[in-house]
């Protein structure tokens, strides 16, 4: 087990691509760190740098106390689960898992014990003699996991290991990986572009965009205190609503509607030069139908466009002063398309961003 430390790590590809841009990140010993971000943001590249499959262009990368910039992949004591499974197609499931151990000259009985234990954990006992071709996608995925587990490495690197599984199997395997992490306590760096996966699995989440680390924190920190517009929009489902407003003294104008503010948002609004634009954000699940008595809330009128019934809840698409607003309301509210409603956001649930720097002013 070990820490993984990125110290000002850069990875440039020919053609002016900076896939990883000045990454500073410390993964604690035994931590489950999720690297999340949209497609092409450099997650895989960052992971491959740790594995040693890419040489880093600049900076220092350490595993434990050892700087591994010039250490070959096989000497880093890591195991990687690839975005594609990368199984050895001509070997049986057993041999796929045993391959790395054989190369490390482990005794036959030890290999056998480890492979059978991993197969037990992953429910692969019955498939040990099969070739990968004769397995389902989920089973192949588990073989890829098993191949990493048997190695008992210092660090697991996993690159979107669930992306090819159907919804049910994904939930199941997600729990399996969490269980394996609890059981082995090994440091895991886990890459995904799925924020739900990130929220449910990670001890901490690192959000990346265009090669740049946006924010790192626990799922709760990212949800309640996003550092900027990108993180605010990326974490949470359905995504946060953003509305551009204009400052006017201590007030905020959303089109023609004057927003009543108080507390921290009001102080921030008052501190701006009048006429400056701000972006305010609020999550669909924090919107409520105003009932007149909610004093500590920002209220605004809206016209309901579409209602999507989800069972326990309804997803309301509404328009307010030319902005599209999504609200998640309990389904007993009986809101219909075309209704005029007044929506309210509790003030402590309101985020304020500077549209130029995209940084959070209140979060």
């Amino acid at each position: 087990m070990a820490t993984v430390t990125f110290d000002h790590v850069y990875k440039r590809f020919p053609g002016d691509v900076v896939a990883v841009n000045d990454l500073n990140l410390q993964v604690a010993d035994g931590e489950f760190l999720v690297l999340v971000g949209p497609s092409g943001c450099g997650k895989t590249t960052a992971l491959r740098c740790v594995a040693g499959l890419e040489t880093i262009s600049d900076g220092e990368l350490s595993i434990g106390d050892q700087v591994v910039n010039d250490v070959a992949p096989k000497d880093r004591d890591i195991a990687m689960v690839f975005q594609s499974y990368a199984l050895y197609p001509h070997m049986s499931v057993y041999d796929n898992m045993a391959f790395g151990l054989k190369l490390r000259k482990m005794s036959k009985t030890d290999i056998d014990a480890r492979v059978r234990e991993a197969a037990g954990i992953l429910g692969l006992d019955r498939y040990l003699d099969r070739k990968p071709k004769a397995l389902s996608g989920g089973q192949r995925q588990r073989v890829a996991l098993g191949r990493a587990i048997v190695r008992e490495p210092k660090v697991f690197l996993m690159d979107e290991p669930l992306s090819n599984l159907d919804a049910k199997l994904r939930v199941q395997t997600r729990a399996e990986i969490a269980r394996i992490h609890r059981r082995l306590g090994t440091t895991i760096v886990y890459v995904t572009h799925d924020q739900v996966e990130a929220m449910t699995m990670g001890d901490r989440i690192a959000v990346m965009k265009d090669g740049l680390l946006q924010q790192i924190g626990t799922p709760e920190e990212l949800y309640t205190h996003p550092a900027n517009l990108f993180v605010a929009g990326f974490i949470g489902s359905p995504a946060m609503n953003f509305v551009t407003v204009t400052t006017a003294g201590g007030e905020l104008m959303m089109g023609e509607t004057k927003l009543s503010l108080g507390g921290e948002p009001a102080r921030v609004a008052a501190a701006q030069t009048p006429g400056k634009n701000l972006t305010i954000g609020f999550r669909p699940e924090h919107l409520v139908l105003a009932n007149g008595s909610d004093g500590q809330a920002m209220r605004f009128p809206a016209v309901v466009d579409v209602v999507e019934y989800l069972g326990n809840e309804e997803l309301i698409h509404a328009r307010a002063e030319g902005n599209d607003i999504v609200a998640l309301l309990p389904s007993d509210r009986k809101v219909k398309a075309g209704d005029n409603v007044e929506l309210a956001v509790p003030l402590d649930r309101l985020f304020v961003f500077d549209p130029e720097t995209e940084k959070a002013l209140v979060s």
Binding site: L53, K74, F82, S84, A86, Y88, P89, F99
Partner: protein
């Protein structure tokens, strides 16, 4: 289970379309095969006919009475005192001249596909460029080189020559095949602790079996049927090492007598390549990397 049932429902019309496609394909294949096989069949029939008849009438007339078949031609060819030696020589030339270039080419193809070294692309272009050098242009300089090394007329000379002539194409073909194997498999092996040599023998080679089998057939046929290379590098110096092709050519005199034996000789010489072909056929597996990476 339920997820697959829509697919099953569609199977009816799908299969009909599929079957119609197959009928067209099969008809075309059968027609082509017949056109291809007729001359061979004619030669086969003629190889069992006396010379006088074979030259006087078409082979098809032998299929109607009065029948007049004979084993004379085969007897004559097999009766040649050196035919057994020649057959063994052919084998002794063909097997190493197939194995050596493929082995070397596999190493080279792996390096060209998966190892980083300076000048890799230029070197590959040069190797492929060698494909255009006509074999005939090399005969005299190579022969004098072999003579100065003192190996002209030996099997070693022919092995070396066939290896050199076969390599560019073999490297080209295997590089293209190995280059299309999934990169992550090799990366995974590198993390698992495999060196390049291990990766080559444990992964690249077994995964390239279909390409290697195809190449083996080509190279074996080329060497087995080769007359020119053997004639130049062996026959002038050492008639004891002559392969079957040279002795078959020798059946016909310069005046053209003895052509009736050629058919029989051809079929004798054809027997082994057929065995090789059918022997290697089971290695032509489609989708050998199936299940390795998600598609």
């Amino acid at each position: 289970m339920t997820a697959t049932s829509p697919g099953l429902d569609q199977a009816g019309p799908e299969q009909g379309w599929f079957a119609r496609q197959h009928i067209g394909l099969h008809t075309a294949l059968i027609v082509l095969m017949v056109i291809w096989a007729i001359p061979t069949f004619g030669l086969f029939v003629n190889s069992f006919r006396p010379a006088t008849e074979a030259f006087g009438t078409g082979w098809w007339s032998a299929l109607f009475p009065p029948y007049n078949f004979t084993f004379e031609n085969y007897a004559h060819v097999l009766g040649q005192s050196n035919i057994g030696t020649n057959f063994l020589n052919s084998l002794f030339i063909s097997i190493p001249a197939t194995v050596i270039p493929i082995f070397v080419a596999a190493f080279a193809a792996y390096a060209f596909s998966w190892m980083e070294f300076p000048g890799r692309n230029i070197l590959f272009v040069v190797v492929v460029g060698l494909l255009v050098v006509p074999l005939q242009a090399t005969l005299i300089p190579v022969l004098s080189l072999f003579a100065s090394w003192g190996i002209a007329g030996t099997f070693l000379a022919v092995w070396l020559a066939h290896t050199a002539y076969g390599l560019p194409f073999a490297i080209y073909l295997l590089r293209n095949f190995m280059g299309s194997l999934p990169r992550e498999v090799f990366e995974s092996a590198a993390i698992d602790g495999a060196s390049s040599v291990t990766s080559f023998f444990r992964l690249a080679l077994p995964m390239s079996v279909p390409a290697i089998a195809a190449l083996a057939i080509f190279q074996f046929l080329f060497v087995w049927n080769d007359l020119l290379v053997a004639l130049i590098y062996i026959s002038i110096v050492n008639p004891d090492n002559l392969p079957l092709t040279v002795s078959i050519a020798g059946l016909v005199t310069s005046q053209g007598a003895g052509t009736e034996f050629l058919g029989a000789a051809a079929f004798i010489s054809m027997a082994l390549p057929l065995i090789v072909f059918f022997g290697l056929q089971r290695f032509f597996v489609r989708g050998i990397v199936g299940g390795s990476v998600k598609g």
